[in-house]
Symmetry: C2
Amino acid sequence: MLDLAILGLLGDGPLHGYEIRRRLRAQMGLAANVSFGSLYPALARLEAAADVEVVEPDDEAAPPPATGSLSGERAAMRSRRLVPGRGRRSKKVYRITDKGAAHFAALLNTTSNGDDQRSFGLRWSFARHLGPDARLALLERRRAQLVQQLGDAEGTDGLDDYARSVVEHAVEGISRDIAWLDDLIAAERAQDRRATPLEEAHGTAVPSESSPAQPGAAR
Amino acid sequence: MLDLAILGLLGDGPLHGYEIRRRLRAQMGLAANVSFGSLYPALARLEAAADVEVVEPDDEAAPPPATGSLSGERAAMRSRRLVPGRGRRSKKVYRITDKGAAHFAALLNTTSNGDDQRSFGLRWSFARHLGPDARLALLERRRAQLVQQLGDAEGTDGLDDYARSVVEHAVEGISRDIAWLDDLIAAERAQDRRATPLEEAHGTAVPSESSPAQPGAAR
DNA sequence: ATTCGCTATATCGATACGATATGATGTAAT
DNA sequence: ATTACATCATATCGTATCGATATAGCGAAT
């Protein structure tokens, strides 16, 4: 789950850990209140798996040196970083690798997720990386989940006023989420129809991104 | 967090694990989607800490036998439970102890919590165990958290339509939660005033919800 | 000067999750 | 009647995440 978030953000350019967290808090606001205690281990994990790599200050814009034995010097630099009295810079900037990008695509497309609210919010905010069909499937899946949650929250019998207020508020929230999803679904359908005018659709009809038009409905 | 939920539910009478989970799912609906992988270890934890105890089928309504050497037989029964071919009953019913009740009160009253949505929902659904002042404090604390979250979710600049829709939906949700809290706060204040008629307060000082002052800040 | 607050990385122990195994029990189909 | 299946129920394993805490560089205020 965190891996997905990190790889997704890194897809728009190299970042360091602190900044990744800042964006997660600001962008997914509620959805992701990730702590350092999970973020840094996750970055280490991803680095070990070669999904991301640390970018050296000189590289910055240059693509990976294509290869070759990375000299001992380089390795030392990577681990040493920030010798107390010298050396400057304490940031550790990460860049996504090709392997990481593939991993991201895989994670994003997996149906059957550990899927609360957060997971959906995360996936949807990366929806531009999905095809129209996958987007719709994601929305429908989430909708089904919410509908089921509504079903599970049976009667509020036997609850005192306090507990009942919690349940009722929750139910309202879920209903609201469903309405929101319905808007998104309608918007997606409308867009698909526009992009694929039935019989016409000659040839190169929409690879993927292009103009998301309006998921607007949201409001 | 789970301890709080378990002890709170057990406060209304003995339950077994599966039933605890069922109630958490139904009652706190969204708030608590606890898994068995956390529930059973939590129960074991609480039992080890003597916050809960396993109730034997004959006890049911009887208070703990007051003491004395619990014979080896009893201990054996407790651990053996459900010998394949004999013995009946596979449920393990837990009852809260005095120590557990004290622990619950302590947990419920701790300010400075691991406090997402869930934690607040849980606490509020047990609000009847709190004094009026503690209830108000809980509401105000939660409100402040949400206001701050709104602040953190800065501009939606640089985000594509999908990501933006997530942020906007989240912001609306938070605003809605704040308004809800304002209603609860107003209701609590009204109730306090009614219970403590101050100097004058000639009778019906208009309780009711509505008119939550101004949630202002939002948006 | 030094204290304060912010950026930044890192680790530790406790907790929670998701998958999975196992068995009992009730209930419907063959 | 036996089989098959869904549901109730407890339990454990590995991994992910959390919250607290430590460390340190750095710029601004006191």
